[in-house]
């Protein structure tokens, strides 16, 4: 059995080390492997994350607060005084063994979060970055699945106008008031409206959760608050998941840097819960609002003006452009400009652009889902699970279903998604597909003009994106590909011991 122990005492020159020695002897005598971290005055000899991850049980023989205690969260822990460690070391060891045996699931459950927070120390920056992104993605996927499927279900049973009924807006000539009090939705719109609202709320958490857990992966718990707030700001300013990605990395970097500042021991205890979150949240939030936000607003204005000025362009070019824009950021500012353009067309009686936007918004999740089936080895566990729900999300025109893939590997997934969406959008415009519904995917096929071509555009776009993403991901040299895929998936792996 693998045991990790921490010993500490007020002065840190005697008991700490006696307890360490006694525990080491007791564990050896009982046939266990033990690593002891002495938090004494001769410096903290920290045990490595790998050792902690591999431990079946943890012993704290400490009279003062164990430093960086959160490293051991989730493991079976037995505690005693430092004197227990010296005088009753064998007893502590057998208690630890009993705790591990009573709760073996704990040991492996702990591995997930414990490791998900720690990308290998010595890994290259690229591998670390991928580990951070995958941590954020793995925590975001449940929100994508739950929220997306609730919204899809709402469209299935409520029809294409559910969104307009709940959020307000014009649909097929009818104008709806937004429902201000969510508790009234059931009475006014019905169950579909409630499902839609719940799904929308869960979706509102996507970007904050992504950003929050990217920062958490980088800086541990002190990164959570700045990361979540950065994500909330990204959502609020319409910066989408790319904004959340940047915000999360920024928050993690600032929190990591602040945590490394040497401070007097009196203040040290306050750093992770108070000082670091406070300062990092203020700094990163300010940057997101003032520095990252305004260019995004300018970009949206410029794109909208540009699209509106494209009157003379051929409809195929317009379809290609709208389609590509839908996939550029999968729900971010550029996507929103294209979608708004389509919806504005519906309101003014021009139904072509809406159809182009809709098919283009459906292909990215569908293509990723197809790719995980055709080439499962190119994806890790989390992505394959995301692929399962991406079928329904894509079919329901919930482009966000592709975000887990894009967040984990933006440089390969986004170009592939753009290619297929542009093809789908262009084809829809070329074949005069129209849509009177502003949302709904395959569930509103009854409101589609030229439905056969509509389906053809979706299939072709899906095929193009799927082929492109498989091609791009396969081009990674295979050993490196296997390595980084392996380390990324091990952030999800239940047993971190599998990590090298």
């Amino acid at each position: 059995m693998n045991i990790v122990a921490v010993t500490s005492c007020p002065t840190g020159i005697a008991h700490t080390y006696m307890a360490a020695e006694a525990l080491e002897q007791a564990a050896k005598a009982a046939g266990h492997i033990i690593h002891v971290e002495t938090q004494g005055s001769a410096g903290l000899d920290a045990v490595s994350p790998e050792v902690i991850a591999a431990a079946d049980a943890v012993i704290f023989a400490a009279d003062v607060e164990v430093r960086e205690r959160q490293r051991f969260d989730g493991k079976p822990i037995v505690t005693g005084t430092v004197k227990d460690g010296i005088n009753h070391a064998a007893d502590l060891v057998s208690r630890a063994v009993a705790a591990a045996e009573a709760n073996p699931a704990d040991a492996s459950a702990a591995a997930g979060p414990a490791l998900a927070t720690k990308v290998e120390e010595g890994a290259s920056f690229g591998t670390q970055l991928r580990g951070w992104l995958m941590t954020g993605v793995s925590y975001m996927i449940p929100f994508v699945a739950a929220g997306g499927l609730l919204i899809a279900l709402a469209f299935m049973i409520g029809g294409a106008d559910v969104a307009s009924q709940v959020n307000g807006g014009t649909f097929d000539g009818k104008t709806y008031e937004a429902i201000a009090d969510p508790t009234k939705i059931l009475a006014e719109v019905g169950l579909a409206g409630v499902l839609f609202k719940l799904g929308a709320l869960a979706f509102g958490m996507l970007v904050p959760v992504l950003a929050g857990f990217i920062a958490f992966a980088m800086a541990d718990r002190p990164g959570l608050a700045p990361g979540f707030v950065a994500g909330l700001v990204a959502s609020a300013i319409g910066a989408g998941f790319l904004g959340g990605l940047v915000g999360g990395l920024l928050a993690g970097a600032v929190a990591m840097w602040l945590s490394r500042i040497q401070v007097p021991s009196a203040v040290r205890g306050m750093m992770p819960v108070l000082v670091v979150p406070l300062i990092a949240t203020a700094v990163v939030g300010f940057l997101m609002l003032q520095v990252v936000g305004p260019p995004i607003a300018d970009l949206q204005t410029a794109l909208t003006d540009w699209l509106n000025g494209l009157d003379g362009a051929s409809s195929i070019v317009l379809g290609l452009l709208l389609g590509g824009m839908m996939a550029v950021d999968l729900g971010g500012p550029v996507n929103k400009v294209a979608y708004t353009f389509g919806v504005a067309g519906v309101a003014s009686g021009s139904f072509g652009p809406m159809a182009a936007v809709m098919v283009a918004g459906m292909t990215p999740p569908l293509a990723m889902a197809l790719a995980t089936v055709l080439r499962p080895k190119l994806f890790n566990d989390a992505e394959r699970k995301a692929g399962e729900s991406a079928w329904l999300l894509g079919g329901s025109f919930i482009t966000e279903g592709a975000i887990p893939f894009a967040a984990a590997d933006p440089l390969r997934v986004i170009p592939a998604a753009i290619a297929g969406s542009a093809v789908a959008g262009g084809l829809a415009m070329a074949l005069d597909v129209t849509s009177r519904a502003p949302h709904g995917g395959i569930w509103v096929v009854g409101l589609i003009g030229n439905p056969v071509a509509y389906v053809a555009a979706i299939l072709l776009g899906t095929g193009v994106s799927c082929a492109a993403v498989i091609l791009l991901k396969s081009r990674r040299s295979s050993p490196a590909g296997a390595g980084s895929a392996g380390s990324a998936s091990s952030t999800q792996a239940p047993r971190p011991a599998a990590q090298f």
Binding site: T11, G12, I13, A14, Y17, E21, A22, G40, S41, A42
Partner: protein
Amino acid sequence: MSDVITAEFVDLDLPATDKLAVTRALAQRLADGGRVSDLDGFLADVAAREEQMPTGLEGGIGIPHARSAHVTEPTLAFGRCREGVDFGASDGPAHLIFLIAAPDGGGSEHLKILASLARRLVYASFREALDQAPDAASAADLIRKEIAS
């Protein structure tokens, strides 16, 4: 770096009094040897540590200790008391008393020596050897060798 313990810091026949008197007797040796600059200041630091939690350990050991500004070099004083002195251990009085003096903010090399001494103290064989030591010089030798090993 001076030796962490020499014969002059060993007293194999401490009178059975109380832990304050025993600690003072050992500290006096450190002061006489120039390792402690202010005897009363150092004793106050030791007493403060002792108040947090008694330093008596099972097996007849007392390890009064402190990190103190009045310590010039990390040093160990060792005393033996046949009758025993109460250091607050649950199983009875201490027969072997180690007074550990560490300078405040001392270099970590020095502190590592004290750490390795502390680690040796948990071995019954080491304690028995000290129990049997015939004179101060051999007790000091024994301790220095154990730390070096």
